[in-house]
């Protein structure tokens, strides 16, 4: 039945993570952006929330919580409301843990999941994007070649979060003859693999708190059991749908942060003797931002709810993500505009949110539910 309300549990999660984002993450956002580093104490504090451990079955030492794309989206939105870089950093281990949880064999689950129930942050990640302007999820260039019972990976990947410290990287590569989302496999590559080279840290316009890297796979040999799902492989389309929902949810959080800030500023800031929010030119921008945020969230939730029902959500997640990408730019840009000159200086966070929102249109698949 049609329902626009989160469950009581989801509301509780939203409130808890939202309060944490406001009190702990937001105050750390500017420092992370300027220094390029996220304080280890904060990383550990977020880890304690159990956002990665939560959905891991009790068999492997996790909390055995129900895994839901909608609940994941609620969490991601709140983290994004705090800070996109810190949120992505905190959830990076999921990039490996969740595909294993969802599509790994029993042996793979046993081998990898327990690690993520450790009491301190476990850096792990995935490598998906490739350094080409026409990078396309459905046409990966990085390839896996079977050799005996092993696979040999070759190619270049970029925007790999935490690659330098990650214990293992889930590498997506073309394997076999399938086209589009078919024929893509994921391989667990551990950091000691001699065929894995991690290049210098990337310098991006936004997401500056998040350490991302370009990596090279040069005759990178992995054993057959590194192939996720073994002979069955993975449902790449579904994984990407989940990633799009999660990334969209985070961007909705960024939009909300920018909107809240601009609204409060406009009610305080006076021009011609009255708060600028009392002028339609400003008030209508804010109204438009509010409508875009709700539109974006509803589209994103629709895709998430479909995933939770086990339906295909390729189209919905794709359209939602593209919508969110455009509206996140519009909303954060308007926030800068509402603050005028003050929006352009780094004393206020809105310029940072504009830079971070830009990531939505440039990056694909750097988050997972």
């Amino acid at each position: 039945m049609v329902d626009f309300q989160l469950s009581e549990e989801q509301q509780m999660i939203r409130d808890t993570i939202g309060a944490f984002a406001r009190d702990e993450i937001r105050p750390a956002a500017r420092l992370a952006d300027e220094s390029g580093k996220i304080l280890p104490e904060l990383t550990e504090k977020i880890w304690q929330l159990g956002l990665v451990r939560g959905a891991i079955p009790e068999t492997y030492g996790g909390d055995g919580g129900e895994r839901s794309a909608v609940t994941g989206a609620v969490v991601a939105e709140e983290l994004g409301y705090g800070d996109l870089s810190i949120g992505l950093h905190a959830l990076a281990p999921r990039l490996l843990a969740y595909p294993v949880l969802e599509m790994g064999t029993a042996e793979q689950k046993a081998a990898y999941l327990k690690r993520f129930t450790a009491p301190t942050f476990v850096p792990a990640t995935a490598a998906l994007m490739e350094p080409r302007w026409d990078f396309d999820l459905t046409e990966l260039v990085t390839g896996a070649r079977p050799e005996g019972s092993a696979f040999v990976l070759n190619g270049h990947k970029c925007v790999v979060p935490l690659a330098a410290e990650a214990e293992a990287i889930l590498v997506y590569a073309k394997n076999g003859s399938g086209s589009g989302f078919e024929g893509v496999d994921a391989f667990v590559v551990t950091r000691d693999n001699p065929g894995l080279k991690i290049n210098e840290r990337e310098q991006n316009m936004g997401l500056k708190g998040l350490a991302t890297y370009e990596i090279a796979l040069d005759q990178c040999r992995v054993s057959a059991d590194a192939r996720l799902g073994a002979d069955k492989g993975i449902d790449f389309s579904r994984l990407m749908s989940e990633a799009r929902v999660a990334f969209s949810a985070m961007a909705v959080g960024v939009m909300r942060a920018a909107f809240d800030y601009a609204r409060d500023y406009a009610k305080e800031r006076k021009a011609f003797g009255v708060p600028i929010a009392t002028k339609q030119a400003i008030a209508f921008m804010l109204a438009d931002m509010a409508i875009e945020i709700d539109s974006a969230r509803l589209l994103m939730w629709e895709a998430a709810a479909r995933l939770d029902k086990g339906h295909d959500a390729l189209r919905e997640s794709y359209l939602a993500k593209n919508y969110v990408a455009a509206s996140a730019l519009r909303v954060t840009d308007n926030a800068v505009q509402v603050l005028g000159g003050h929006g352009y200086i780094r004393e206020h966070p809105v310029e940072m949110w504009l830079r971070n929102a830009r990531a939505m249109t440039a990056l694909d698949g750097v988050a997972t539910v």
Partner: protein, 407 residues
Amino acid sequence: MIDFELEPQVVSRLRMYHAVAENMMRPISREYDEREHEDPWQFFETMWQAQSLNDVGPAARSTGGESQAGPKLRNLNTVITTEELCWGDVGLFLATPNSGLGGAAVMAAGTPEQKARFLKRFGEGKPKWGAMAITEPACGSDSAAVTTSATRDGDDWLINGTKIFCTAGHRAVDKSEGFVVVWATVDKSAGRAGIKPFVVEHGTPGMQVTRLEQKLGIRASDTAAIIFDNCRVPASNLLGSAEVKQEGGFKDVMATFDATRPIVAAMAIGVGRAALDFVRNFLKEQNVAVRYGISPRRLGVVERDFMEMEVQLQAARLLTWRAAWMMDMGQRNNLEASMAKAKAGLVVTQITQKAVELLGPLGYSRKLLVEKWMRDAKINDIFEGTQQINMLIVARRILGYGNKELN
């Protein structure tokens, strides 16, 4: 639990509405666009006979019948069926005989006795229309500025003034045994609080339809100008209380809008979907693929445009469903109704214009309905609160301002 999927029984019920839209509205859609001010009586009679189909639009609220989708989500049911019928033809939808906005006003402001007295007629006899008259030549969006007056004369009220843009006004008062709800001030010094709704019955002396507007679109729907010249109505026709309170009175108009804006948004969405479906089928015939999932940078211009139309329409639809659902849950939806109306009115205007553009000379030709949908769509961005009025309401609500701070 977040869920935006309609239940199977709702979907199968929608098929019935779709059949009406496809088989009864589409075939005469062009004809009654060209023959403005003429009446498709056969269509009217059929719609009137099909009582179950009258359970849509503002009529659903006013007849008080329970919808088959269950009483819990009856407003949601109204917007989805409205979309379905307006996919057929929004002008004919507006022209369909029912209690209309007049009925909505009776429901919002009338006493139980008045509801029974005025609305009974819509379940029996010949086709009838209910209309509402609020706009005047010198006031539209600023509906608190109405100058039409009602003065007490013994047991009656005497109404004087000119109303325009009254949807179905002609059919309500001249072509059927319907009525028009007229908003008039009983005390100019009281401002908004002095504005009261009066039911004026068909054929009442002193009420005259003086002209029918010639419009850009929705030409099957009549839009009347009505002059009231010492028009005498009994005191019992004043809806609700005659007392001029600080609160109330005009607030009833606003309550009407909170209920009708999601419906107008749904009307827009129906028109938008007609255009979207047409373009989708057209692209299929032309072997133009719409590739979901590939890098947005590799999309062609046409598929990118199509996807934008599609997602904007869905955003408007979800906002609209939410506004209706909130009413079903008994929640105040003033903000959300205006969000839905503002978004739907705007994006459907853009979607239908884009459809004309994508089809080139075919889109501009009156051989196809696409150009008509573009003309029909525009009204949804204007009536029941223009785009700008709805943005103003949204702005006030998100800023916590009243009409003094933000005007």
